[in-house]
Assembly symmetry: C2
Homo-oligomer: 413 residues x 2
């Protein structure tokens, strides 16, 4: 148990405030209340979120209680990390739907039995001006403006809506209401979590400890994983996509992903790291190990094995996959007939029209460029002219189209 | 009428925003809604407030409507001009009592028939977090921190409670609710009044005009008149005190008081000013004119005449006033017997004990100092020793005590 505790407090941790106090709380034997917030305007969980969820799960295995806060009020203000616009209020129904979507994914990692779900609207729905005055009177403008992103924007002359200063206060108040013992968040949540500590003390509660995790870099290898940057891997992603995205990301991210997203032991990781640094290890093999581990967590062992073999076959050896999207010739004719830019020769299915109509490419110009680059194949043979067409589609397997390495389509009679 | 309008728009005005627009509104012939706020935690009206009230009265005489806002919500936050503490909420009863006290005094100057009384609690009592978010989203931190006192305190490292930034927003919202055409205030209210203009426009109303008046310097000749600085003349002050306080203030304040607190015509004021500058006028005579004018406004002509004669007799000629406080010898003995520091000689009323027991002085040491300075008289004769005593109090007029120029007391058998 001690070894497990040690692991939980050191693996994938950016900062703990205050480590000694958290240690004392854990030793007390009392089940702790572990708070984590979620923004219901962003219900899709990606691997960046999973880092924290895995940590919660580890604490649950030590007997502690997770309290998820549905931020239906802070979502209105928006996480003020750059923009200054408030968002339109989500309807109660949207929030409920999003929370349901979120929790379904959340419970792929976190233990449902040891999770309490709370809604900010339980306490903010009836929060009045007098409450706002009481809350805001406890903090100074300077205290809030000390937050790194506020001071940076302020120094740069960028507007900060007064509302944004309320955000950390509402989040802090959540900690008071749920009597959090520990708040979990990414390292970028440090300021907000510390406000919770302060407010709890002002309101006569013991201050929560703050457990901060590193931010997972997205598949672009540049920025924090996020949906808006399109560098994310969603938990709901099909096994082949998940596997493929991990395989295609820069090698230097691998060790962080291993540390933050797998249970591969530290000693083993040290060995892998050393092998890679000495160039005695094969980065591709290591990355496959990582991809298989992660896919397995969300889709199970068989799906992970299949994703690996799909990757090897289709991507590495360039073979046609077992399964691919299928479209009928008649459907194809119908779609093309609705395209005003399509060729108008009776019975002719022009290759450019087909690529556009089947969404294999985004535009006619992309289709032409890919044909020129030799990246389009029909039945295993390169298409050399944009004036090519599909004349007859044979019965049985029909005609197979491939664009680039991974976009496949079968056209049947 | 044109001359009157001209007078109203120029006499005792610090700034009008926007003068041309206000002029156009006045010309439209529609009765305008003239907003002025009041802080119900400070129900006592002094001459500093009268400056604005007189201006409202002048507008009423042109047919316009005054709207007084009882700031029962902003009073909780406190006018953030230096301090950063929020005050305890006044009880509804206290607010009602204070508003009644205030309005009684207010209507000594302003026409009750053309005044509408509104309470912030009408709209803020049910103001919720969602409303606060909507309101705060319209303004940036930088906009608010541009307010002179905020930026000064911020630069000086003095704390500004987040709540204080809400103050101008609430005041602005009042303007929206009452659909103010013009807001009146001292020049130190400029920022807050301009916020009202902005908010009205954001909420689809025509922006109010802002009518700002100079701040009246208090009787110390140094700072803005205010109760807390004890440099004020209250509207409720008895005629003699009011007269005496005006007479004792520095001469250089006279012309401002004439301009802001009397209807003495501008031409006449120019003449008085010139006489004073050329030293052909008598400052004392001019000040008496001022004192009599102001006392007359609040207490009527006979009281003003009496106050003037009291001043001349008691202060200028040092004669005993018509009336003075009276105490009996037996009451005096009783009070002294409760004073542990008093002389303990049977039947003797020591002068120091008497001065202390009758509150003519604040302490034994003040009594001794004044006696040494020759500032204490008994029946018109200077008391030379602190060991003096009142032996026998004659029947009839008794014994008269005088301390300094104006403190009188009669002791009767």
């Amino acid at each position: 148990m001690e070894a497990k505790l040690e692991y939980v407090l050191t693996r994938g941790v950016a900062e703990i405030i205050i480590r000694e106090e958290l240690y004392r709380l854990l030793e007390s034997g009392r089940p702790l209340r572990l708070k984590m917030g979620f923004d219901p305007s962003r219900p899709d969980i990606h691997l960046g979120h999973v880092v924290g969820m895995r940590k919660l799960r580890q604490f649950q295995e030590l007997g502690h209680q997770v309290v998820v806060i549905v931020g239906d009020w802070t979502a209105q203000i928006g996480d003020p990390s750059g923009t200054s616009q408030t968002r339109p209020m989500l309807s109660a129904e949207e929030v409920r739907d999003n929370a349901e979507t979120y929790m379904q994914q959340f419970f792929k990692v976190v233990d449902r039995e040891k999770t309490e779900l709370r809604w900010q609207s339980e306490w903010f729905g009836d929060f009045r001006l007098a409450d706002v005055i009481r809350l805001t009177s406890k903090f100074t403008v300077a205290q809030l403006m000390a937050r790194e992103d506020f001071s940076r924007r302020n120094a740069g002359g960028k507007p900060i809506a007064l509302t944004e200063l309320l955000y950390p206060l509402l989040q802090a108040y959540d900690s008071v209401v749920v009597r959090a013992d520990v708040e979990f968040g990414g390292i970028d949540q440090k300021f907000n979590c510390l406000m919770g500590r302060d407010l709890q003390q002002m309101m006569g509660q013991p201050p929560q400890q703050v457990f901060l995790m590193p931010l997972l870099v997205g598949t672009d290898g540049q920025q924090k994983m996020s949906k808006s940057l399109d560098n994310y891997i969603a938990v709901e992603e099909p096994p082949e996509n998940m596997y493929g995205k991990i395989m295609s990301m820069p090698d230097r991210l691998m060790m962080d992903y291993f540390e933050l997203l797998t249970d591969v032991p530290d000693l083993e990781l040290a060995r892998i790291r050393a092998d890679l640094e000495n160039q005695t290890g094969n980065p591709m093999a290591v990355k496959k190990l990582l991809a298989q581990d992660i896919v397995k967590q969300f889709h199970g062992e068989p799906a992970a094995v299949e994703a690996a073999s799909h990757f090897e076959k289709v991507v590495q050896r360039g073979e046609a996959p077992e399964e691919m999207p299928v479209i009928s010739v008649s459907e194809l004719h119908q779609r093309i007939s609705r395209d005003p830019a399509a060729r108008r020769e009776a019975g002719i299915l022009g290759i450019v029209d087909v690529l556009v109509a089947t969404d294999l490419v985004k535009s006619r110009s992309e289709a032409k460029r890919l044909i020129r680059q030799g990246a389009v194949e029909m039945n295993g043979r390169r298409v050399v002219s944009e004036m090519s067409s599909l004349d007859r589609v044979p019965a049985g397997d029909g005609t197979t189209l491939r664009v680039g390495k991974q976009r496949w389509l079968r056209i049947v009679g």
